[in-house]
């Protein structure tokens, strides 16, 4: 019988070998992957792999993957004071490569959103170093949730990109290298991988088709960005509907902290007694102290702070970034907001015509 010709660079790993594959990856570099929690919260979170851990197929982690490149807290510089001398110490150690496994298409796109902020001049060397060392294995979303709306922002959950795009089926894990770095790492795993044939390619293509049809049936599939964009400042800023949308907002930071694209931070000095530790940490535009200056807080009401967040994602960011919206439709804020107010409700509200009495 004629040998089936190999027509793809895509590789395959039997699911029975998944544990061995994860182990091999963790030997190659520190490996982080979604693992279900063991406390009161069993939802998946990114965890450093140790043998015995099980990869979670949960659709998304509670916290996003941005934590790996833009951590909630990091020390920027230390000042050591001795007499009249101040020594400036860079606390960074040499970064090593690490692997992020199981990143969904939405989170992967969020790196692009963050890159445009942190990698434009002046480049944020802390962020840049982590980005350079992060090897990303993405995972296609076979069971998108009702809260998903990545397609609204042009993201395709069936083509999640990264260094290696993965597709999981009942029997196998398919690995499709998308970069040279991805190819290099797959080459090192060849004992565990086999080549794919036309049947395999059809299997993966079928999965992509299935994902596309599932996305079309999701409740938020028709969500439109039509009313938003970099040129919509004048039409949206003074709209009276911001008042009713924001009236129940608790002013907590949940939406901003679970968001894969929120990137605001503050920098503070901590007096260690014999020097200063200068650190940065996530801040939230929802907080009353956010961007407070000597002249005061530029946004005096919660309505203004609430409006800032959505205007940033839907107007200001696209104005500065070639029309790219800084929401990736991951749905985390929909699931987490204590009062269930979120970007979808904001977008839908502004997409409706104003009723006669001006209220909604």
């Amino acid at each position: 019988m004629r040998e089936v010709m190999v027509i793809s660079m895509m590789k395959k790993c039997a699911k029975s070998n998944l544990t061995a594959l994860l182990h091999a990856l963790s030997v190659y570099a520190p490996l982080y992957l979604p693992v279900n929690g063991n406390g009161k919260d069993t939802r998946a979170k990114y965890t450093r792999y140790e043998d015995g851990m099980v990869y979670s197929t949960d659709l998304n982690t509670v916290r996003s993957a941005k934590d790996f490149f833009f951590p909630q807290t990091e020390n920027l510089v230390n000042f050591k004071v001795e007499g009249k001398n101040i020594e400036i110490i860079d606390p960074r150690t040499e970064e090593e490569d690490f692997i992020l496994f199981g990143v969904r298409a939405c989170d992967f796109k969020s790196f692009d959103v963050l890159d445009r902020v942190f990698l434009s001049e002046p480049v944020d060397s802390y962020y840049a170093s982590r980005r350079a060392h992060g090897i990303i294995f993405t995972m296609a979303c076979t069971r998108p949730a009702e809260t998903c709306f990545c397609t609204t922002f042009g993201i395709n959950p069936a083509e999640p990109a990264g260094d290696v795009s993965c597709y999981m089926t009942e029997a196998d894990l398919y690995l499709d290298a998308k970069t040279e770095r991805g190819e290099a790492i797959l080459a090192k795993l060849e004992d565990l991988l086999t080549d794919t044939d036309s049947t395999d390619i059809k299997t993966v293509e079928d999965q992509k088709t299935c994902i596309a049809s599932r996305m079309e049936k999701l409740p938020l599939a028709a969500l439109s960005t039509e009313k938003f964009g970099g040129d919509k400042l004048d039409t949206l800023f003074d709209d009276p509907r911001w008042e009713s949308l924001s009236e129940a907002c608790l002013a907590c930071g949940t939406c901003t902290y679970v968001c894969p694209t929120c990137q605001c931070y503050d920098i503070k000095d901590f007096n260690t007694g014999h020097g200063v530790c200068r650190f940065r940490y996530w801040d939230s535009c929802m907080y009353s102290e956010f961007t407070k200056m000597s002249a005061g807080q530029p946004r005096l009401t919660q309505m203004q702070r609430f409006r800032q967040r959505f205007m940033h994602k839907l107007v200001y960011y696209p104005a500065n970034n070639d029309g790219l919206f800084s929401c990736v439709g991951c749905g985390r804020c929909l699931a987490s907001c204590p009062i269930s107010m979120n970007i979808v409700k904001v977008m839908k509200t502004f997409s409706e015509e104003v009723s006669d009495n001006g209220s909604k």
Binding site: G37, N38, G39, K40, D41, T42, R43, K45, D58, L59, V62, R63, Q72, T73, R143, P144, A145, E146, T147, R214, K217, L218, P219, L220, S244, E247, A248, L250, A251, C252, G253, T254, T256, Y257, V258, D266, K268, F270, F279, Y281, W282, D283, S284, Y287, S288, E289, K292, L334, A335, S336, P338, I339, S340, M341, N342, V344, K345, K348, S359
Partner: protein, 331 residues
């Protein structure tokens, strides 16, 4: 018992708006899905007919919103579930809002679902849900209809309900319930039965997930300081950063101390936590200890009551006699 439905509440709200008794209504606004209900202020019946909802996902406690709402002109209608009514009384005890500007309608409750609990039952694709007695039928995208027991999947605060009695209202709809004892200190007792190391490990595991979003504080009806110490740059402790993965224990322990004796055990802290940290257990521990040392006391059970911690009595136990936590040993 009369079941309280959306229609009953709508009718009540419409008549109170029409009669001019109130000029607006604090209510639940339906969302995109079954579970994403948002607190909202309605100013007319027409808007209410379009957007108002009431079902087993209306767990949000409205009492704290009254602080803001009573700053406005006119009277506001608020629906109070038993839990909410304790917060309502406690806020009144602390003079946090003007009672004259509120028309309170009490409604009975037999437990409200948490969005996160229900979503956990169908993590990918929950398109709808309905309650039929003790059955909760979930409509899912990929697994068809899933029927679960309503009572079994209630959040902890409802499984271990402190009271089904609405303790403050101008008017009661349906039949009022009774103060219940659904074993709400069982979990505290379980924590006390642990060794110190086990208990430390438990809280370390839970609290290390904290992201300092402050949702627990912001939703808490007992947290009504005009300027929280953690938001005050002049306090020296305004610190939104986590210096190590367990530093958050300080924030939560300080907060639990601050609301001790004032916490009405409404459980909103645990409901809103995006990281599902069982924060209400810290407060219940304080309530348990207060009960043991000073006799049973329920904050918010009646307006104007003096909490044991701010009400010295000669019979109070002396320092050294106070019953401590673990196992009830004396320290």
């Amino acid at each position: 018992m009369q079941t309280i439905t959306r229609d009953i509440l709508l009718e009540k709200a419409a008549s109170l708006l029409a009669s001019g008794t109130v000029n607006r209504v604090l209510g639940w606004k339906k969302g995109e899905f079954i579970y994403d209900v948002t607190p909202a202020v309605f100013t007319n019946a027409e808007d209410m007919y379009r957007h108002f909802t009431f079902d087993c996902f209306c767990g949000a406690n409205f009492s704290k919103y009254l602080i803001k709402e009573t700053q406005k002109e006119g009277k506001v209608l608020v629906f109070l579930k038993p839990c909410d009514s304790y917060s309502f009384n406690q806020l009144l005890t602390e003079h946090r809002f003007d009672r004259e500007k509120v028309y309170a309608v009490g409604i009975p409750c037999d437990g409200m679902m948490d969005a996160s609990t229900v979503k956990a039952l169908a993590p990918e694709g929950l398109t709808g849900a309905e309650r039929n007695g003790d059955a909760l039928i979930l409509h899912t995208l990929y697994d068809g209809d899933v029927t679960v027991s309503y009572a079994d999947h209630l959040p902890d605060r409802c499984k271990h309900c402190k009271s089904k009695k609405v303790v403050a209202y101008d008017e009661m709809l349906g039949e009022n319930g009774e103060v219940t004892d659904a074993g709400r200190f069982d979990e505290v007792a379980a924590l006390e039965a642990m060794t110190e190391d086990e208990r430390f490990a438990f809280w370390q595991n839970e609290l290390s997930r904290c992201i300092r979003c402050n949702a627990c504080r912001d939703v808490c009806p007992a947290c009504t300081c005009e300027k929280c110490v953690f938001d005050n740059p002049g306090s020296g402790v305004e610190n939104k950063a986590i210096s190590d993965r367990f530093e958050e224990k300080l924030f939560h322990v300080i907060r639990a101390f601050h609301v001790a004796g004032r916490c009405t055990d409404c459980g909103e802290c645990s409901r809103v936590c995006p990281q599902n940290i069982p924060l209400h257990l810290l407060n219940r521990k304080f309530i348990y200890d207060i009960d043991r040392n000073y006799g049973d006391y329920m904050a918010g059970a009646e307006e104007g009551s003096r909490a044991p911690l701010v009400n010295y009595q000669i019979a109070d136990p002396e320092a050294g006699e106070v019953v401590s936590g673990a196992g009830g040993d004396k320290v």
